[in-house]
Symmetry: C2
Subunit: 426 residues, 2 copies
């Protein structure tokens, strides 16, 4: 009647899951659609930046040595022989004491080697010829942005697997990437189980709760970079569940179920894995919450059996599903970023198992301060809204006091980490 399960250390569980990580196909989207997607290939500078010697200011292009004798009481005069708007190129070539009016971003005209900012000049006309004068000397190269000085052609500017930000978009546009190669988002199927679940629109009934987990993990999947597909809520019935899982595996890359993985009599997931012939990687983890998180592999696809309990479900997703999603999206840093922080509030409970306490961190006076939010009972949903980190309290530790150094895992984060955050764990 009661199955005995041996809890696996978090570190081992994560290692097992990651050994089945896969990568996605490439698809092409327009530049405008690419925001928030993941680069499938390195972003390469297709030309040098700047692409030509240019003026970073509005002013006048001159030959620097013509200005050598300019002084406050002895201005040097230049004849203005042309003017260049941004995007135009002057056909003129500068001779002695000649200048060309130049706009920000315009190409340096032939013969010029310095730019004088407009505000440092005096402009006037004599006999219908425009002149300008300056009161100090300029050196060759002054106020010139040289071809390639920012970026030589061929440089790798952003690595594949990076999430496309506004800054990345600026680069893609600059280098002519009208279409962008991005990684196809993994399709994550979501099945909720549990006869205690009501639909969100239904009124409460005695003993029942509304299905919040599937909507929550849909949003977690989107945040991770995946495309969630909600496949419905099932009653606690074996055959129905089994068929739903088999059908789902046909159309998704990763399958999540919520609920049905406890050792209760109504929990069918273990039997479904068995009938499928799936390779169950583990069904108990030495952690709280989320100890019942179960992961199985079938034909190269991962099936995550997340807890029915909202907090445990949330933890299970972030710890195990997120790095699989990021790896699929070519990230070289698929793991949660672990940072050290100062505990801002006592947490005195002992931790027989590694505990993931929902917390929020603040940056105060150059320090990272984190505190638990809410009660952190595993069935409490309200604290999820305020949390932006898990505070990781390793198993076998006593309580922690304000001021103690603790580890955080960031979940509102794009940077990630290239190493397992759990690697240093016992």
């Amino acid at each position: 009647m009661i199955e005995k399960r041996k809890p696996l250390p978090v570190k081992e569980a994560l290692k097992k899951v990651m050994s089945f990580a896969t990568v996605g196909d490439i698809e092409q989207v327009s530049l405008q659609e690419s925001f928030g997607r993941y680069l499938a290939e390195d972003l390469i500078a297709t030309h040098p930046v700047p692409p030509f010697d240019r003026s970073p200011y509005d002013g006048f292009a001159i030959r620097a040595h013509d200005s050598a004798n300019a002084k406050a009481d002895q201005p040097v005069e230049f004849e203005v022989i042309d003017e260049i708007g941004a995007g135009s190129v002057s056909k003129e070539s500068l001779g002695q004491n000649q200048a060309i009016r130049i706009m920000t971003g315009a190409q340096m005209p032939c013969g010029s080697d310095a730019v004088v900012m407009l505000e440092l000049t005096k402009v006037y006309k004599k006999d219908n010829i425009v002149y300008m004068s300056i009161k100090r000397p300029f050196h060759k190269g002054d106020n010139v942005s040289f071809k390639g000085e920012d970026t030589p052609e061929g440089s790798v500017l952003v690595k594949k697997g990076t999430c496309i930000t506004p800054g990345t978009i600026a680069l893609l546009a600059t280098f002519g990437y009208e279409k962008v190669q991005v990684v196809r988002q993994p399709r994550i199927g979501i099945i909720a189980t549990g006869s205690e679940l009501l639909e969100v629109g239904e009124p409460l009934e005695p003993g029942k709760i509304r299905n919040s987990n599937s909507f929550m993990i849909e949003a977690q999947a989107k945040r991770a970079g995946a495309r969630p597909i909600y496949l419905g809520k099932l009653a606690d019935d074996f055959e129905t569940c089994y068929k739903a899982v088999v059908d789902a595996l046909e159309e998704v890359d990763i399958l999540l179920t919520t609920g049905g993985v406890s050792v209760g009599d109504y929990d069918y997931l273990p039997d479904i894995y068995q009938r499928l012939g799936a390779n169950v990687l583990f069904n108990k983890i030495a952690m709280r919450p989320g100890s019942v998180t179960t992961v199985a592999e079938y034909n190269g696809k991962l099936l995550f059996g997340l807890s029915g309990n909202p907090s445990a479900c949330y933890v299970g997703f972030e710890l195990f599903v997120r790095p699989i999603v990021r790896h699929y999206l070519y990230s070289s840093r698929p793991h949660l970023q672990k940072v050290t922080a100062i505990l801002g509030k006592d947490f005195l409970k002992p931790n027989p198992f590694t505990r993931f306490v929902r917390g929020s961190f603040q940056l105060i006076d150059g320090q990272v301060i984190a505190s638990p939010v809410g009660l952190d009972k595993s069935n409490v949903v309200s604290s999820l809204a305020d949390a932006n980190v898990f505070i990781v309290l390793p198993g076998g530790t006593r309580g922690y006091k304000t001021g103690d150094m603790i580890d955080l895992l960031l979940f509102e984060d794009q940077l990630g980490s290239d190493t397992h955050w759990a690697e240093s764990f016992k």
Copy 2:
């Protein structure tokens, strides 16, 4: 020929802009569409959580005082009279030394006041009646989640103006919000000006660069929570620009232009503002980059004239447009979050004007360390991809050394701030 402009301190500029901030209308979206949108009303607990006394574990519901004499060598026996799956309610009421098998999340049966975890029991049959025994006493309330202990009915769980995260979604679902009241995204029109601009798909030409700014600020607008509408790229022609601006103002809430605000001869924006009769709030700010950032107001709508230069354009958006967008979205913390950090790399240039240096920050050993990225010339785009903060170096300061405390403005951040980050500025 040359207009003299008086630079306004950043603090004053921000204050002027914010005095014209408006708020958006409310619209209703489905729960699934609400991720990443902004709540238009407080999220209220529509029932207590838990909604009834329930078991947080799989186990047995008992009357605690029946267990008072249980010892390791003297187990107390209970008759198991019923079992309750999650979502079911038992019709039975517990009598002396009776227990009911209960699943995680199920409602406590009548007469019970404690739960014994399954793993602490021994279950057996005698004469076809199921019994269980325990070896230690339990107290009234042990392992019971009491009605309302997490959240009393009517509590404000998330404030309006908050960005909807996976945790918020869990709460919305729990409390039956099938439809969510969110703020309509402000429509941000974007017009690029500059005859030096090529389309992204065009090959480079002498003197020309590709239009990267409009795509970049489209993405910045999305990140801020707005809906960008790209209205096209214009040549440097006054009448065309003027008509485009007039037409755009009909269909957008906020209008951005890039380029055309320098003091160069080809910059028409000032004349457009004049012909419109717009109220120009300022046309020069004592900051680098982005000193030419111009903001005007016309019939209650804001027109932002951002620089044509990518870095200055980026800064202008984050400093001035973003807080307007967040205010529109009901945020009580619309401003950029300012945090103190330790400078990780020398920045020895003196700062005659307040400088916003693109940087990236890391959290190392409980400390916030930030360093400039790239060369940070104002025409350099490549460093935008790596930046996640502006390092703010106030005007009138000399250079800064590694280890100095500096201020950062975070732009990959949802939390924001309720006060102007520039308030403490001179």
